[in-house]
Amino acid sequence: MKRADAKTTAAAAAPVTKGKEKKKGKENYRPTRNACKLCAPLGAALAFKGFSKTIPFLHGSQGCATYIRRYLISHYREPVDIAASNFSEEAAIFGGQKSLLLGLENVCRQYRPEMIGLATTCLSETIGDNVPMFLKEYRKGREDGPPVVHVSTPSYRGTHAEGFHEAVRAVVESLATAPETPSREGINLFPGMVSPADIRHLKEIFKDFETEVTILPDISETLDGHLWSEYIRMPEGGTPIQKIRGSGRARASIEFGRVLSGQKSAGKSLEERARVQCFSLGLPIGVSESDRLFQTLSELTGHRVPERYNAQRERLLDAYVDGHKYVSGARAILYGEEDLVIGLAAFLSEIGITPVLCASGSKSGLLKEKLSQVTPDISKIQVEEGADFSDIEEIAAQSAPDIFIGSSKGYRIARALNLPLVRAGFPIHDRIGGPRIIHLGYQGAQALFDRIANALIEKRQSDSKVGYGYM
């Protein structure tokens, strides 16, 4: 008997007989096979983890908290406590107020959090629980308790990416106040769904610009921490609550994400409410998008770009030159959150790799337009919003790719096509170090460039019959 892992090649299970044609409309509905998106409450819980001593709390079934914890933990390999109101059948019928209030009370007693991030699930949303009213009730007599920030995240609307941004917006809208005097200090940074390593790098950059920064949210320590010599109820790190409150007094905000720039966001909300000017940039992946960040920072702070970043930029370009023969002309399949895909596409275009497919499970309606801003020839790129991995598989099989770039979820397809997968984004649960992957800035581009070039070299080397030791 064969003792192999479950047969993983999709092709072996059944031939895909459908043509590529992604049919639109209800009449030609097509079931989702192997989704390329996660649900909105996961995104919200992830964002809440980036605020100091904040407990994410899901209003709904305990299973949602368990599943989402399970998933976040498999990527970050860090403790992720998420509470829930543990709906019973009774609560599902009569409403979840009692469960919610008891749950909040218990979380406060056990964890003494500085903030509670309350995200709804499809259960509480479907029965129409009036959460703002419940919270008003909860507040009575507890005026000194930790703030409870509520975000509406039914998983039948949007994806984890939207859940993430909505949660950040809810935090800022609940806590940030508009200043009475126009004293302006520091910069807010809304980095989006990037890795702890990315956030640590961004902090260094701001430090080198000698500028106070409030990163919202900051998962650099909470989701990539260290061993504990004593019992720690909640991990250190995250944006201090005081700094969230003060974000309305910042000189400016920077938010990453070209798709986000066309949507409601925390940065734009703060601009409207507290007149903090918001600069929308793409995710700074690759030289051009990173240049935009450094230029913006230089203008906002009045400081020249620190010398070390010039050096990093030059080293990166030197590497581009040295490695171009390995990467130029290659064809890549990109998938993930829309803004990550756009950032990676911008970077790949610089090094001569065509992202022949750019796919995302999200459906902003903006992906193609925003991609065309960062890639030289959009006609060479197939752009798929609302895609699942079955779509990606079909398109990949027909587009002669050389490499896959994205989360672990693309592994089965890459394996079936015998192609390398360079892991980036979320979730990465078949490699160690997902949270330490750096994507941003010249340094991030350098790391990505080396990994992508080496993956292509390794493939060529192992495919060769000769066994070359020089490549």
Partner: protein, 553 residues
């Protein structure tokens, strides 16, 4: 069982007073919560008749207590039906539930064992409900999903799993399934396993058992070849466990008709009622099917355990005794003798490094019990254990079944009324034969539970929370903690290794004889890792100033 280390254990445990530990664990809860948790945290006592103190189990988790429990859907789709390779499992609901249960349990299967080679386990099928369906209903979309899945894959069967919103908006998955079954001419069946039902994944197991029994078991009366024909229930082939058990059965000349549901095909379920004996591994998740098969078809069941080499040997002897056939008994003895040689050698190799070390197990509805066998074979003691979703009978034994109060949450899970099948009921053993077997200590249709086999004074904790886990570790400082990935990194922050017993991390198999050897090596490696020695930097010379790591004391 662990005479080897008795002395060491007693001295170490003296310092910790479990009564105080219990107090400390619940002190921060509000009075009502503390009172409830106090009933779920019990110090083991073994009475003269082998009776143990009652524990409260299978009750609702209190909101805001961070539980490790999953939901009804997780138990139904993820655990019981998930490992069957040739059923297209469609999650009817928004995308999260389907995504999170997408082969995360590392169930393996051998697709080549079926002639059609169907294997849909690497797929995650979902109707991906959107707001429109929440408002106007999702049945139409579900029908389309079933039709599409049929057109593309031509499976033998399609199962539909309901998530929270489905029950609330009133979609009737059962009538949709019936309609599509008629239309497509294949078996299509639905499960009302909305996440809010019951108190844990346990409700989902029950619902899955009911559905499989109603829609699949007994639909094919072909009697296959082979002697000693049995079903293995509650074995999910995580990390390849089922492959090892199958190997042993084959070697003993036993015939496996079906497994519920590791390395399984729906064809096996369809004629599982032709077997002569049901073996139960995970009592919690699957005893319902065994009982229903006994009532309807007359197949007795035995609780067995293939985790631990000694337990495996004991289970094989039980099976042989059930059949009462000398030829089988001799063969089983020969197999055990041969298989135990490398096992004993491996034990001798690891014991000097593992004996006397202490383990904690908080997992499952059976695993927290089963894995104690492996630890005791390594000379390790289990100092605390508990289930995530077990019931009282899993703790105290089936003898307490009559005294279990059925609360509202359990009452909502349908209990099927089963009668003997007019044509196919055939008692495999006469009542007097069963009595004889029972008198010989075979325990037909019985499970003794975990607590009677554990030491006095150990802490038994049902549905342990993250907070209680942290406290327990802080106080006991065990050498290894066994649970799942959710607990893993929090426990390891304290410098204590955690072995995942839900999905086995990257390892396995741990069942049977070969599995035991794998487990010994794995645990040896984990409890003797050098990494903890590097944690304190040499310039941090005053640990009293910064506290000490849990593993240091």
């Amino acid at each position: 069982m662990s005479d080897y280390i008795e002395g060491i254990m007693d001295t170490e445990c003296e310092v910790i007073d479990p009564v105080e530990v219990k107090e400390e664990m619940i002190v921060r809860y509000p009075t009502k919560v503390a009172r409830k948790r106090a009933k779920q945290i019990v110090l083991n006592r073994i009475g003269e008749e082998g009776e143990v103190p009652p524990i409260q189990a299978n009750v609702r988790t209190i909101p805001g207590i961070i539980t490790q429990r999953g939901c009804c859907y997780a138990g139904c789709k993820g655990v019981v039906l998930g490992p069957t390779r040739d059923i297209v499992n469609i999650t009817h609901g928004p995308i999260g539930c389907g995504f999170y249960s997408w082969l995360t349990r590392r169930n393996q299967t051998d697709a080549d064992a079926s002639p059609d080679g169907h294997n849909f386990m690497p797929y995650c099928f979902s109707t991906d409900m959107q707001e429109g369906e929440i408002i106007f209903g999702g049945e139409k979309k579900l029908k389309q999903a079933i039709q599409e899945a049929y057109d593309i894959f031509k499976p033998k069967a399609i199962a539909v799993f309901s998530t929270c919103p489905v029950g609330l908006i009133g979609d009737d998955v059962h009538s949709t399934a019936r309609e599509m079954k008629k239309k497509l001419g294949i078996n299509v069946f639905g499960f009302s396993c909305e996440g809010y039902k019951g108190v844990s994944q346990s409700a989902g197991h029950h619902i899955a058992n009911n559905g499989i029994f109603t829609h699949v078991v007994g639909t094919d009366d072909t009697v296959g070849a082979g002697e000693y024909r049995m079903n293995l229930l509650g074995e999910y082939n995580i990390g390849g466990d089922a492959f090892e058990i199958e190997r042993i059965f084959e070697k003993c000349g036993m015939t496996l008709v079906s497994t519920f549901s590791g390395n399984s095909s729906i064809d096996g379920f369809a004629n599982s009622h032709t077997a002569d004996l049901n073996l139960i591994m995970c009592h919690r998740s699957i005893n319902y099917v065994a009982e229903m098969m006994e009532k309807k078809f007359g197949i007795p069941w035995l609780k067995i355990n293939f985790i631990g080499a000694e337990a495996t040997a004991k289970s094989l002897r039980k099976i042989a005794a059930y059949y009462g056939d000398q030829k089988l008994m001799d063969r089983v003895e020969a197999v055990i003798e041969e298989e135990m040689l490398p096992v004993k050698a491996a034990q001798r190799e690891v014991r000097p490094r593992t004996a006397g070390k202490r383990a904690m197990l908080f997992v499952g509805g059976s695993r927290a019990h089963h894995y104690q066998e492996l630890f005791s074979e390594m000379g390790m003691e289990t100092v605390s254990a508990g289930y995530e979703f077990g019931h009282r009978d899993d703790y105290e034994g089936r003898k307490v079944l009559p005294s279990i109060k059925i609360d509202a949450d359990s009452r909502n899970i349908e209990e099927l009324e089963i009668h003997p099948d007019p044509e196919r009921y055939r008692p495999r053993k006469r009542p007097e034969e069963i009595e004889k077997l029972k008198a010989a200590g075979l325990g037909v249709a019985d499970y003794e539970g975990m607590m009677p086999e554990m030491k006095e004074g150990v802490m038994i904790i049902d549905d342990i929370s993250q907070y209680e886990t942290d406290k327990l570790i802080e106080i006991y400082k065990p050498d290894i903690f066994c649970a799942g990935i959710k607990e893993k990194y929090a426990v390891q922050k304290h410098g204590i290794p955690l072995k995942q017993l839900h999905s086995y991390d990257y390892g396995g198999p741990y069942a049977g004889f070969a599995g035991a050897v794998n487990f010994y090596k794995e645990i040896d490696r984990m409890v003797n890792s050098k990494i903890w020695g590097y944690i304190r930097a040499p310039w941090k010379e005053h640990p009293e100033l910064s506290g000490s790591y849990a593993f240091e004391s």
